[in-house]
Each structure stands twice: as structure tokens, then as C-alpha cells.
């Protein structure tokens, strides 16, 4: 029985890793394929625009509008690919990735890092997604003025805490927790746990604990 539980845990961890590998592949395909092609089209269009003679005045606004829409498509694609797999996580690790995440969050986020070097990839990825989801939720639902994010790795345990000073009561609203449930599964599969504390009127605190080597 115990052996089967251990095997089950291991197979769930492998599933999480396979999912991440797949996300990395999709991000890479979009980057090398679709994004490159769109940039190339944008360049050709820019060149055409520069070469349009004054006599082509009627075509000018059409080309200009096409270029604007193409720029918007590229911006959307950029956000999408970073949502699928944040390249900075692979390149610079959890600290830099959280710094960037907090930097562009829709809510003021204060970050404190107590990390030393790189952590295993599945651990970094899980932590990143948890913070990302927590910041999104805080910005959307909490009516908080600010969020505090702390990531600490000590004695083989990574602890990540995201606390806002908002209205609390999370989990009561329908549909609110679906993103978090998936993340809780992910954390659980890696042998950690994700807890939410959200008493009404006292803000929401998300806490993730994950073995990190």
C-alpha cells in the first residue's frame, strides 16, 4: 500500500513535469514560428508603407490601420506566450521572474526574496504560477491597496506567501477558485501544500510550502 502511494506521488510529479515540458515546447513553437512570421510581415508592411508614393494616398490609411492591428496582435501574442511559459524563469530563475511579475502586476506588489541560487525547475514553475494567480486574483477581487509577496528557501523548504490587505472572503464567490484548485493540485503533486486564509474583512493570504531539494 505504502509503495503504491509512493509510486502514485512520483507519477503525479512526472505529470507536472511533462505538462511544463509541453508548455515550454508550445512557447518555443510560437516564438520560432508565429511570432517570427508576424514580425516579418510587419517589416514587409513597414517597407511597403515607406515606399508608397504620394499618389497612393488612398492606400495610406489602410496600410496604417493594418500595421496598428498587426502591432496589437503581436502584443497579445507576447502576453499569451509569457503566460504559457515565462522564459525569464528558465533564463534567470525564480527571483528575477518574481521581480518582473511583481513589477508589472496590476496591483502594487512588495516583494521580499530570501532565495539562494536556483531551485529545481518544477519548484520554480509552481511558485511562479502561484504568485501569478494570486496577484491576478488580488487585483481582480480583493479591492486591496497592496500585496506583500515573500519567497523564502530554508532547510530544504520553499515557502511563498502572498498577502493582501483587501476584503477577504475568498472562496465564497463562484468560479473564483478554479485557477487555484489546479495550482493546489500541482503543488500537492510535488509533495507540497497550498493553503488559503481569507477571513471576511481581513485580507487574503496564500501560503505555499514546497520541498526544494
Amino acid at each position: 500500500m505504502r509503495a503504491r502511494l509512493v509510486e502514485l506521488q512520483a507519477s503525479r510529479a512526472r505529470l507536472v513535469e511533462a505538462t511544463d515540458a509541453e508548455r515550454r515546447r508550445i512557447e518555443r513553437d510560437l516564438h520560432d514560428g508565429t511570432q517570427q512570421r508576424l514580425v516579418s510581415i510587419a517589416m514587409s508592411l513597414g517597407l511597403a508603407d515607406a515606399k508608397l508614393p504620394a499618389a497612393g494616398a488612398e492606400a495610406k490609411p489602410i496600410v496604417a490601420q493594418t500595421r496598428e492591428e498587426l502591432a496589437a496582435a503581436l502584443a497579445e501574442l507576447r502576453d499569451l506566450t509569457q503566460g504559457i511559459y515565462p522564459t525569464i524563469l528558465t533564463e534567470r530563475g525564480l527571483g528575477a521572474a518574481l521581480d518582473e511579475l511583481c513589477g508589472r502586476a496590476a496591483i502594487t506588489a512588495h516583494l521580499r526574496l530570501f532565495l539562494d541560487g536556483r531551485l529545481p525547475a518544477p519548484v520554480e514553475t509552481a511558485a511562479y504560477y502561484v504568485v501569478s494567480e494570486a496577484l491576478t486574483n488580488a487585483a481582480k477581487h480583493s479591492r486591496a491597496s497592496a500585496v506583500r509577496v515573500a519567497a523564502t528557501c530554508a532547510d530544504g523548504l520553499l515557502t511563498v506567501e502572498i498577502a493582501d490587505d483587501g476584503v477577504g472572503g475568498a472562496g465564497a464567490g463562484a468560479g473564483r477558485g478554479s485557477g487555484l484548485r489546479g495550482l493546489a493540485d500541482r503543488v500537492d503533486a510535488l509533495g507540497g501544500r497550498l493553503t488559503v486564509s481569507s477571513p471576511p474583512g481581513q485580507g487574503t493570504t496564500l501560503r505555499m510550502e514546497l520541498p526544494c531539494g
Binding site: 514580425v39 517589416m43 517597407l47 533564463e91
Partner: protein, 216 residues
């Protein structure tokens, strides 16, 4: 002005070269990864190297690493790094060794021939270029208490943020519903508070922004 281009995607490498020729630059060579780029710069001694950040073999930040090496070995070669993503931290890494002759642009900006030409010219002339999207990401970050930027008034910070987006005094004045003279006064105060030495005005604007960003 002589330039070289490094990008692993043939489509973009060739396309970029074509745009640059169209804009009146001499394209002295093309490279498809970081080590090829270093050889090319050594051989061709261009005024500016235009470098994609993500190239083989690791497809992460080879372009940035190559750019740092070029800065160390051929400090007079300007570098314009192109990135598919807005990574403010990377831009700061690049600028931290000095802002002369360095630029960081989102890749899609190259579709605007005039903007591309102006950016390459500016980097080649020893100036700096920072993508507005990168700047706005940096500006929106939380600041520490000992940051000199905290000594600026709220209005001055607003002006600085708009400067960081690359806007002219006139555009800032329109945005804030004040006179251009008022904006000039704010800009002067910002330069003084951030202790920026006198230099050509455009360059000082970029330095103000960079000081602002580096201070975090």
C-alpha cells in the same frame, strides 16, 4: 553608417538587412548566433551591431551575452538589442555598464522604418534607446525610500514618467494641461535633483530616465 545584423531566423535576418539598406545603412554582414556575431564584429568593425537577444545554442539570452562581450572588447561599437519580450531586467543589465551607444527595443518596432533608422543612428552616434514598453514597466515598479526619485515632487515624477515614454516637452505639456514653459521648468528640476551633468539635451533626457530606473 556600417551595421551588422545577428538573428537566427533567416526570415528576420534578411528582412532586417533589407530594411536597413532601404534606410540607407551599409550592411557589412549577417550572423546567426552569438559566436558568429563576435567573429563578424572583429572582422567588419561595424558602427552598430543589431542583435536578437534569443539565439542558438541555448535560445535564451545569447544576444545579451554577445552584446556584453562586444561592449567589453570593442567599446566604440554601438549595440541595439532586439527582444521579442519586455524584460526590463535585461535592459538594465545591458545599460548598467554604461548607456553610451546602447539600445533595447522590442523586435516589432523594426517594422517602422523611420523609427528603426532613428534608433540605429542614435546608438551609432553614442546615444541610447530604450523601448517605451520597457520603460513603462520599469517606471511602474515600486521604489525604495532612499531612491533619489522619491525626492522628486509628484508632478515632477509624472513628467519624468512621460519623458521615459519618449515624449517631447510639447507632448507632455498637452497631456498635463500645462504650458511648455512649465514642463521645461520641471525637466530642469528633475535634472538637478538627479544630479545629471549638462550634456546635449536628448541624451540627458535618456540619462534621467536611466538614473531613475537604475536607482531601484
Amino acid at each position: 553608417m556600417r551595421v551588422v545584423v545577428a538573428d537566427d531566423a533567416v526570415l528576420l535576418r534578411e528582412g532586417l538587412a533589407r530594411l536597413l539598406v532601404e534606410a540607407g545603412f551599409e550592411v557589412a554582414g549577417l550572423a546567426s548566433d552569438g559566436s558568429e556575431l563576435l567573429e563578424l564584429v572583429e572582422r567588419a568593425r561595424p558602427d552598430v551591431a543589431i542583435v536578437d537577444i534569443r539565439m542558438p545554442p541555448t535560445h535564451t539570452d545569447e544576444g545579451l551575452q554577445a552584446a556584453k562581450q562586444i561592449r567589453a572588447r570593442w567599446p566604440r561599437t554601438g549595440i541595439l538589442v532586439l527582444s521579442q519580450h519586455v524584460h526590463a531586467g535585461y535592459a538594465l543589465e545591458l545599460l548598467s555598464a554604461g548607456t553610451d551607444g546602447v539600445g533595447y527595443l522590442l523586435k516589432e518596432r523594426v517594422s517602422d522604418l523611420a523609427e528603426l533608422a532613428a534608433s540605429v543612428q542614435r546608438v551609432g552616434a553614442g546615444g541610447s534607446v530604450l523601448d517605451p514598453a520597457v520603460v513603462s514597466q520599469l517606471v511602474s515598479r515600486r521604489r525604495q525610500d532612499d531612491d533619489p526619485v522619491t525626492k522628486l515632487t509628484g508632478r515632477e515624477r509624472e513628467v519624468l514618467a512621460l519623458m521615459a515614454e519618449g515624449r517631447s516637452n510639447k507632448a507632455i505639456a498637452e497631456q498635463l494641461f500645462v504650458s511648455e514653459y512649465t514642463v521645461e521648468k520641471h525637466v530642469g528640476n528633475i535634472f538637478t535633483t538627479l544630479r545629471l551633468p549638462p550634456s546635449p539635451d536628448d541624451h540627458r533626457r535618456v540619462l534621467a530616465v536611466v538614473a531613475f530606473l537604475n536607482a531601484q
